[in-house]
């Protein structure tokens, strides 16, 4: 009897342990965030009811959800309209050509209002263009500054000066310069896109420049000695030693820059009335209908979600290229 019961007793803790671990894990990674979100929704819906504005009661979660579905429905309608317009135009042109094969047919693009989804797309394209362009400038500049004390001494005061400048201060200057310089009969890019993008670029350069420079300047002396003993050429030195060694700080800079880029973009779009999520928010504010606050709230949540996803994708990229697999990245 005893010999048969003993193993089962000794097995129980061994079996229970992983299950309790699993529960702990699920609890920490799923349950706690869920509780946090539910608590937030509860507080939101209860306080929102108490806030009365000239545009009606502040929207709670339910109203915001309703507006979110509305916005998607409007987007579908708009797409349908565009589709119908093009179908009609093609049918008409086909008729004309059937009657007279030499006839000149005109093809007009559909000029509807951009929907919420369109604005998201515009904002994403703008922020990524500005960020990528800024990184292409900031990383080489940061490496140069980190490698050479003289360049650092020359450039550092400028960085310190321009780093704290608000995007809104740049905006008028960028707008005027873009209108003056970018004159073209057949513009590849719209001026509003360029204005937003350059404002984003100017504001999100600095974290990458500074962090890259710090990373490069702090590459271990031993590795630099290795490079010297091997007499590595400048390019090999930079690409084989400096860049991999400063990659972690470079990514810290890039993530900060992307965060700033996204925040700056929304502000710039609002102020300059350039297409994008910022303009959507501003337009809704100017509209002042009873649904406006709910729609703005949808935009706020979407802006937050996109910012979060952008940061996560940078983290994913960092994990992909990082050589130090033991580093805890969060």
């Amino acid at each position: 009897m005893k010999s048969t019961t003993l193993p089962s007793i000794s097995q129980t803790p061994g079996r229970l342990l992983p299950i309790s671990h699993l529960l702990m894990h699920v609890g920490r990674s799923l349950l706690l965030p869920l509780i946090g979100i539910l608590l937030f929704l509860f507080l939101w819906s209860n306080t929102a009811r108490m806030v009365h504005t000239s545009l009606g009661t502040f929207p709670g979660p339910a109203q915001v959800w309703e507006q979110a579905t509305n916005l998607i429905a409007e987007h579908r309608q708009e797409r349908q309209r565009a589709h119908d317009f093009i179908a009609r135009q093609e049918a008409r042109n086909a008729q004309i050509l059937a009657a007279n094969p030499q006839a000149q047919v005109t093809i007009r693009p559909y000029t509807g209002n951009p929907t919420f989804v369109d604005q998201i797309g515009t904002s994403l394209v703008t922020v990524l263009s500005g960020f990528i362009l800024a990184s292409l400038i900031a990383i080489p500049l940061g490496i140069l500054i980190g490698l050479n004390e003289w360049v650092y001494a020359a450039v550092n005061p400028l960085i310190q000066l321009f780093k704290p400048v608000s995007p809104l201060a740049w905006l008028p200057l960028v707008t005027m310069v873009v209108s003056a310089v970018y004159v073209s009969q057949d513009p590849e890019f719209s001026k509003s896109f360029l204005t937003s993008m350059f404002t984003v670029l100017l504001c999100c350069l600095w974290p990458t420049v500074i962090n890259t420079a710090v990373g490069v300047a702090n590459v271990s002396k031993d590795l630099l000695n290795v490079s010297q003993v091997l007499r590595l050429g400048v390019l090999t030195h930079v690409f084989k030693i400096i860049v991999p060694a400063s990659l972690p700080l470079m990514f810290t800079g890039l993530r900060l820059s992307l965060g700033i880029a996204w925040m700056v973009l929304i502000a710039a779009e609002m102020l300059a009335q350039n297409p994008g999520l910022g303009k959507f928010v501003w337009d809704e504010f100017q509209n002042g209908s009873s649904s406006s606050l709910g729609r703005i709230m949808v935009a706020v949540l979407v802006i937050g979600l996109i910012g979060f996803l952008l940061d996560r994708s940078m983290l994913f990229l960092q994990r992909k290229v990082s050589w130090d697999k033991q580093a805890v990245l969060r």
Binding site: Q228, V229, L230, R231, W323
Partner: protein
Amino acid sequence: MNKYLQLSEVSIDFPTPKGRFRALDKVDLNIAQGEFVSLIGHSGCGKSTVLNIVAGLHRATEGGVLLEGREVNAPGPERAVVFQNHSLLPWLTAYENVELAVKQVFKGQKSKAEMREWIIHNLELVHMTHAMDKRPDEISGGMKQRVGIARALAMEPKVLLMDEPFGALDALTRAHLQDSLMDIHADLGNTVIMITHDVDEAVLLSDRIVMMTNGPAATIGEILTIDLERPRKRVALAGDARYNHFRQEVLAFLYERQRKVEDFGAQKKLHETVTPIKVNLAKQG
């Protein structure tokens, strides 16, 4: 004497807030081709500075270094360095770490296949072919140091400079690597300068032991020639009277003639507690 590597009157000053600090003073040393020389002395006596000057990583303030009659004034692969903490690039595998050196040194001289063969040959010398696709953080400290030695050997250096190569390793691993190094030195006949703290290591490996005085203005105190026959076996030597005599010589230099007073009173400044002792250059025998 064969003057393959010459250090003549090498002195170096470092600038400090309190003025110039003379770290080394008139170091004179001639090393023959194929010779294995150890530098021994208390920490802070400028052993590493001597090595760095030979490597070209530091410039001597006065005097200079000649290798085969040519002045050394920049680092280069013909004076390969094995660093104390291995200094492997953590993002490259053992193979790639050696490859970086081989590609740099033999660019245009060896074909791709020859380079690969040469890299593997050098990894074989240090018995590391089994882990050549591992990154430094995946292998032990002793293995990292082996790869570091393979990287240095792969440059086919005229002089191999080793800065306490086994200092961070446990006693067994260290003994193992010392044996490997003796084999390699017997095979290839490299000229080696090695810094060490370990008296046994110095006596076992060296043809000559250069004993340095304490800083500031450190210089060569005594030079001890170890004329034990090679190959040397550590177990056999442990009972050898001459071996123990050499050991005793080095110990006497380090702990009697150059005894270093450690700083126990933390409030006292370092230079007040380090008492310079007059060097007795008259060597018996």
